[in-house]
């Protein structure tokens, strides 16, 4: 059992500290044939906006070694249609549903959070921000979500903005923080017809190579923030997930690496649900000060 919203009146309790990351798992039932959601702690939905959004133009996927760039523009049919389409699924799911909201203007987020508070099965909100959002706007957005809805609010911090955003959002209404959203990335696009690199694509970067950056951020921030931290970014195995918990994360999100290996979600969940024996993986260092080989 892990409590992701200890300061919230209802709380947000997970039996297992594992969930998919927003944008990778659909709205709850896309993976029903391949993933046993009952083993997970929660489901986080794909991003939802108040009004519908269309798919982005241009190249959607670019592969770079074992990393890849994804560019979708977060298409979705808008809040009301998402609720109409999926509320039955959410009610039926045996685990809490966290709806990821694309944080736009605070008034809109207020409206959205209020609307979601009544929906059965929905146990929390995760807010996603544009990568370059100002501290002021991010704070106003979190406050709006916390004040106008009655659901726990998780803020997903853009990559590279932890220092500036995380402490402030934790102080202004965020019940938990997800560290971090995938980094923004640019990749040359090979135009196969022209046979030359003529354009670039912009998108979010995924890959196991990002995991060492996540651990670096966790190693400094997880124990300095006053709210639970959810680790996200390149987690590729149960050992990775345990390393995140050791460095102070309360839970983990498995991101787009699950597309290659959907079973990763269940595998990680099974590994984390077992009580950790004293001599188990990572146990040596799961103390307050995990064993870094060198302080430098």
């Amino acid at each position: 059992m892990v409590e992701l919203a200890p300061r919230h009146k209802y709380g947000l309790t997970l039996t297992v500290p594992v969930m998919p990351a927003s944008g990778t798992f659909g709205y709850g039932d896309a993976y029903q044939d391949l993933v046993d959601v009952a083993l997970l702690g929660a489901v986080v939905t794909n991003p939802v906006s108040l009004r519908s959004r269309r798919t982005a133009q241009g190249r959607r996927i670019g592969v770079r070694g074992d990393a890849f760039v994804v560019h979708t523009g977060w298409p979705n049919p808008g809040l009301n249609r998402v609720i109409r389409t999926y509320s039955e699924t959410w009610e039926r799911l045996p685990i809490p549903v966290i709806v990821h909201l694309l944080a736009s203007r605070p008034e809109e987020v207020a409206q959205t959070a209020a609307r979601l508070s009544g929906v059965a099965g929905v146990a929390g909100i995760e807010l996603g921000f544009p990568a370059t959002i100002s501290v002021r706007d991010a704070r106003a957005t979190v406050e709006a979500a916390a004040n106008e809805g009655d659901l726990p609010v998780i803020a997903k911090i853009p990559f590279g903005r932890v220092e500036r955003l995380a402490p402030i959002l934790a102080a202004h209404g965020a019940d938990a923080l997800t560290l971090t959203a995938p980094p923004r990335a640019v990749l040359p696009v090979r135009d196969e017809r022209a046979g030359a690199v003529a354009r670039f694509m912009r998108g979010r970067l995924y890959g196991a190579a990002l995991f060492p950056l996540l651990l670096d951020t966790l190693s400094y921030w997880a124990r300095r923030l006053p709210v639970p931290v959810i680790a996200c970014g390149g987690i590729a195995s149960p050992e990775d997930a345990l390393a995140c918990l050791t460095l102070g994360a309360a839970a983990v999100q498995i991101d787009a690496l699950l597309w290659r290996e959907p079973a990763l979600l269940d595998t990680v969940a099974r590994a984390l649900v077992q009580p950790q024996k004293p001599d188990s993986v990572l146990a040596e260092s799961s103390t307050e000060q995990p064993g870094m080989e060198d302080e430098e």
Binding site: T55, I61, W259
Partner: protein, 258 residues
């Protein structure tokens, strides 16, 4: 849909430039449907059947495809079958006449349909003569129409173009329309951006086409295959659809311009 380990049975190159990879699979994908295979990259790759047999299916892939790093005997992990393939006899009664239309690189997607009806016509469009497959590669029952963009062989393409042509050449458009008028079903395999104009051709020839009269296979990246990632969305007349689960085969007329 299931996830399972399968083996590569055989690798050959009977029809260059494509390589054929024979995969063992109990429940192979239907024509136009696919499996997602873990070929060692960070994302799975879709494999479409170019032949289906009792052991599994054959995927024909271009040179440089990641599947070619694997040797016969290699175990690979596939998810599938996935997606909606071609729908050839929706009323239950078998087809008499079938039209297949493809750009040459997409020919393998239609290959499992080469003998799907007593009368099958195939239109292949290539940039130039050298890219066209030898006619001997096709079943003799197939009625073949060749089209090149430079007029170096067969009709002058592109298929949807109109207007005057240099003397000695014949436009492909009228021939395509003839075949569309003739057929009971038409299956297209082109880059997505060709479909609006091809849909236009069909709707000009067939005034009140029934649903799925003309079908179009859409090849876009499909990282998840189950409708989770939204990377494969395509715009249709009825809104956006996911190629991985709503397709990859759509009603061609869904791509008509307003």
């Amino acid at each position: 849909m299931v996830k399972r380990q399968t083996a590569i049975l055989r690798r050959a190159r009977p029809a260059p430039p494509f390589w054929e990879i024979h995969l063992a699979l109990e429940q192979p994908p239907e024509p136009g449907a696919y499996v997602l295979a873990d070929l060692g990259g960070p994302l799975r790759e879709p494999l479409f059947p170019s032949e289906i047999d009792s052991a599994g299916f054959v995927a024909a892939v271009p040179p440089g495809h990641p599947a070619l790093r694997l040797l016969p005997g290699a175990e690979i992990d596939v998810i599938g079958p996935l997606g909606r393939g071609f729908r050839l006899n929706p009323d239950g009664h078998p087809l008499a006449r079938l039209l297949l239309v493809a750009q040459v690189g997409f020919l393998p997607f239609l290959q499992p349909l080469f003998q799907a009806a007593p009368a099958v016509a195939l239109v292949v469009e290539a940039t130039t003569r050298a890219q066209l497959p030898a006619p001997t590669r096709f079943p003799p029952t197939l009625e073949l129409t060749l089209v090149t963009l430079d007029g170096s062989a067969g009709y002058l393409g592109p298929l949807e173009a109109e207007g005057a042509v240099p003397s000695g050449l014949e436009r492909a458009g009228p021939r395509l329309r003839e075949l569309i008028a003739w057929t009971e079903r038409a299956c297209f395999a082109f880059e997505l951006d060709r479909y609006p104009a091809l849909a236009q051709c069909v709707s000009e020839v067939r005034i009140q086409p029934q649903a799925d009269l003309a079908q179009a296979l859409v090849r876009v990246p499909m990282p998840c295959g189950v409708g989770a990632c939204d990377a494969c969305r395509v715009a249709t007349q009825r809104g956006e659809r996911q190629a991985c689960v709503d397709g990859p085969v759509f009603d061609l007329l869904a791509f008509r311009r307003e």
